[in-house]
Symmetry: none
Amino acid sequence: MTETTTDRRADGRALKHVQVREYVRDLVAGAAPGAAAPSERELVAMFGVARMTVRQALDTLVTEGVLERIPGRGTFVARPQRNRGRISGFTEDLRRRGVLAESQTLLARREQAGPGVARALSLTEGDAVIHWRRLRRGDGTVVCVEDAYLTEILLPGFLQQGMPTSLYADLEARGLRPTWAEDSITADVAGPEEAALLEIEPGSVVLRHSRRAVSGEKVVEVSRSVYRADRFTLWLQICG
Amino acid sequence: MTETTTDRRADGRALKHVQVREYVRDLVAGAAPGAAAPSERELVAMFGVARMTVRQALDTLVTEGVLERIPGRGTFVARPQRNRGRISGFTEDLRRRGVLAESQTLLARREQAGPGVARALSLTEGDAVIHWRRLRRGDGTVVCVEDAYLTEILLPGFLQQGMPTSLYADLEARGLRPTWAEDSITADVAGPEEAALLEIEPGSVVLRHSRRAVSGEKVVEVSRSVYRADRFTLWLQICG
DNA sequence: TAGTGGTCTAGACCACTAT
DNA sequence: TAGTGGTCTAGACCACTAG
């Protein structure tokens, strides 16, 4: 398998292995997992190319998880990928469990980044950030208080547009869907303010979840959430 | 790039592209990012193989993120990957923080899978599993009790070999390094047995962490860990 | 036995980079 | 201009699977 940057020669002609690759990709799109793809020698005959060229095309599709090779048997449409999961936020996370997520904005304003937030967002202290505090409910009951900090310069008009239901859906619409994140999670007890918001006694057990979410090279979100331990289990998919 | 299952022919001779690949991997291990790797034609001359064979070897290392090709310039040791984070276990996790992880095996035996463990490991109830319970310390202080369940049939000789220091390092040596995992995390209070092991009062705050780790298609590990909340923060990298 | 993917050869021309 | 990786050819033999 070889990374192809352009897919085309300088003169505009499509590369042969790309032609074969895209032909097979189209052919196989929507086919049932386990369905047979054309054999390598069939493709050699169809396209009039060398077998190594066909193999280069198929190698890419195998690496992408589209095809699967079985020696002595053939090439087949791969089983559905187990792990094309996306990073999700509270709203999407709860929806996946069949729970309706609601949010009440407690605070949404422009602030100057303090030292901690600036470092986490890879900004300079004093840069403009959006601070968004929400009380979050699942099926109507209070579950979580979340403080999110966003880099204002990446999100023009964010505060003016009316706050979105799902932060991640909004980021996705801006092409800033997080591609990976660093999370840290601790168990703790609630302080008095948190307790009041979460409708629990101070000192009750809570789950603290901090996230630093990155889209490409840019840190798009830094957040701290406090969950009622009696009402929430954090569920994460980890990839290698 | 081609997946190689065996790395060896039936007669035991190493495949040529594997020889080249491992030679380059060793050569480059510990080299500074950006350092030049041997050129393809150099390797052709060194090993007396065809260039396609060398390319197959290097393709694998490029896909793995070890090397980087720059057309017209050469092949180089890849820059540190933004996101080649591997799923880590307790040992590796603590090592990354500069903390020495130690484990004391409380129990390591063959059992028949109960309904929960069987479902989590994608086995049938009654199938043989390895149950491994460890008390885990960081820099000498008690941090965690972990119960891990492993599919015995995937790990021949595991119990006989002497328990490894790091489960994940052992799995990696067997080609079963987890590629992704589903984790669920809650905050809770310690029960009496846990409290005794963790050297805390019953009712103290703990962090519970369950993991279902998958390597390729196989579920290789299911575990439940209980951490002292006052001594441990869980740190996870999430990918989309 | 026929077909499949896995490995491998010994060349070739191209576009690109560095000197 | 010399060297690099990118693409491509036209074969070959192997181990394995299936009918």
